[in-house]
Every structure is written in structure tokens, then in C-alpha cells.
Symmetry: C2
Subunit: 160 residues, 2 copies
DNA sequence: TCAAATCCCGACTAATTTGCTGGGTATTAT
DNA sequence: ATAATACCCAGCAAATTAGTCGGGATTTGA
């Protein structure tokens, strides 16, 4: 379980998708512009999110990305693990007998802590964020080509 | 709030200190040997922990590090923040008006999530780990010079 | 059909972080 | 005095992070 700016980028981008999910796909250009992340870097992150089935891409004009599952099935832990590709580094680095025959105790304690953290983050889903009252008032973007196109084609025009 | 191997090293090292607190100072050489971290890297981490008053150093032979406060006053969040020097990167990177005059919403949502995570980790203190039943059986080290010296000089011989 | 919008992909570069090496100095128990 | 230890620091190498570049491939509107 790792938590870096990379994970933060992914989580905030996914929040963006969840908030605007009803309006059809969100373009990476929008997210790039909004959150100040480079487009290609976002593409790399979304490639991982796509492989983890957390998002799905829609090609062509008016396309973009949308959530790959209902928002209540996507947890913060899911997102972070998808982009961070956590290798298992909780095992004792070749030093198992450092306490007189017992396995390294602190590693076990850390593993326990790490598990608790994972459970905590796994219990928080994207649906929590879109259910807030302050979301609805600003759920429609302005000043971007994508939103203009989206306005021409309301959500129900795009098959799910 | 960042969570990397650096933070993990610091937390496990602090667990080590907490577990062996009754036996006098723990040397960095011990931790280095036990957890497979280089001595100098540990020195860097402990310099930060010391500045944050989480540990205090005892110089000279038989010295080492001990906790700077009672274990129930040291949270996991304290340790991670001490070594990671979290700069405030939650603010909108120069792009405040990305939602039609409103502040960037996802940044607020992330800040909320980050706060919850902090509270979670701040609620876990080192005292939780030393109160476990499996600790007492292995609370005394073997095979190290430091422990032999420590045995010669029981804890009460070292003024706090 | 054609061009635009967009996802997709791989390689490259720059910045930052991580972790280590190796040299010191200060303090203190013996 | 000597050895053990904390403490300090400059620099270096590897890994990771972040971003760039240049090209596709696919879908859609005109």
C-alpha cells in the first residue's frame, strides 16, 4: 500500500469521472486542463485504470472516458493499487531470524497496520463523493469544446 | 499525507524502539542489522525523528535512541509526517477556476479524503503494538554486542 | 470520403526521491 | 586513552515520478 501524488492524480481524476458520469464520457484534455496534469501522463495513468477495468474508453469525437463499474463498486484502494502496481515488499528482506529464532516482529506489525489501512481505503467508494449536495450545482462544465459537444448530445443519446 | 517505503522504515524502526523501550536505548546498528536498512539512511531518518521530538539520542557506549514521549502519545501519522516533510500540495496548482467560477471541486474532495486518512493514522499509536501478547516473549535481543552491554547495564542504570 | 477528435502506444528526457558510501566530529562509559 | 556510539554532511547511484514527443488506430460529423 503506497500513497503518492501518482495515486492522488488517479483518485482525483476518477472523482472527476464519477461526478460527470451522467453527462457522457469525460475527455483527458478536460482533466488535464482542470487539474494541471499533462495529457500524456494522464494517458499512462488511464491505461492502467483501463487494464484494471476501472474505466472504459470511448473513441471518436464526443468520446472520452467513463467509469467501468458503478461508482459504489470502485473504492479508493482499488484506484491506488491499479496505478501503483504494489509489489509485495512486506516480507522480511532476507533477514528472517533477527529476533533469536522468531520472524522479524516489526514486519508482522507493519503488515497488520497495512491491512488496516487497506480496509479503511477500501471502505471508501466514489459514490460517497457524488452524493454530496455541493456537487449538483456545478456538475456541468463550461468553456470547453467537449462540454459543448456534450450539450448537443445529452447523456441518454449514448448507449451504456 | 504521503506513504512510501521511507515512512514504512520510520514506522517499523519506531515500533522497534517502542518494543524495547524498557531495556534502555536501542542502537541504530541493531535496527540496521535487523531490518536490512543501511546505517546512514537510518541516521537521516532519525535526524528528522529527533527534530520532531519523537526520539531522543543517548551518546556514548551503551547509548542509542529511545522514544521521546510515551508510546501512547506517538501516532503513526506523527512518524510519517516527521520523515516525509509533507509540503502542502493540496492546493490547486494555479488553476482555481476550472469549473465555471467555482474552485476546483476534486481538490476539495481529495482534501477531505486526506483529512480522513490522517485522522485514521493519527488514531493509531505505538502503544497498541507493544501491548500485544506476542511481544513479551521476544522482548530481549540476542547475538548482538549491544544487547550484551544492555544486559550488563539494566534500564534503571541510565538516567532518563 | 475526409478530417477532426480522441484513445492508444512506445520510447525518450528531466526532475525528484530513495538509499548508500564514506568521510568526519562530539560525547561518554570503561 | 580507547572504543562505542550518536551526530553531521557532501556527494553519488539507482529507482521512481512526471512529462514530452511522435506516431498510430478508431470513431464520428460533415
Amino acid at each position: 500500500m503506497k500513497l503518492s501524488t501518482k495515486g492522488r492524480y488517479a483518485v482525483t481524476a476518477m472523482m472527476d469521472l464519477a461526478i460527470h458520469d451522467r453527462e457522457g464520457p469525460v475527455t483527458l484534455a478536460d482533466i488535464s486542463h482542470c487539474q494541471g496534469i499533462s495529457l500524456s501522463y494522464l494517458e499512462q495513468l488511464f491505461a492502467k485504470l483501463r487494464r484494471a477495468k476501472l474505466v472504459e474508453g470511448v473513441r471518436g469525437p464526443g468520446g472520452g472516458y467513463r467509469l467501468g463499474k458503478p461508482s459504489h463498486q470502485i473504492s479508493v484502494a482499488d484506484i491506488i493499487i491499479a496505478v501503483d502496481e504494489t509489489i509485495d515488499n512486506t516480507k522480511c528482506q532476507g533477514l528472517k531470524d533477527c529476533n533469536g529464532g522468531n520472524k522479524c516482529l516489526t514486519h508482522k506489525l507493519w503488515a497488520d497496520l497495512s491491512d488496516r489501512l487497506f480496509e479503511f481505503l477500501d471502505g471508501i467508494t466514489l459514490s460517497e463523493f457524488i452524493s454530496r449536495p455541493e456537487i449538483k450545482t456545478i456538475s456541468r462544465r463550461q468553456d470547453t469544446t467537449a462540454s459543448r459537444i456534450a450539450n448537443m448530445f445529452p447523456p441518454n443519446a449514448i448507449a451504456s
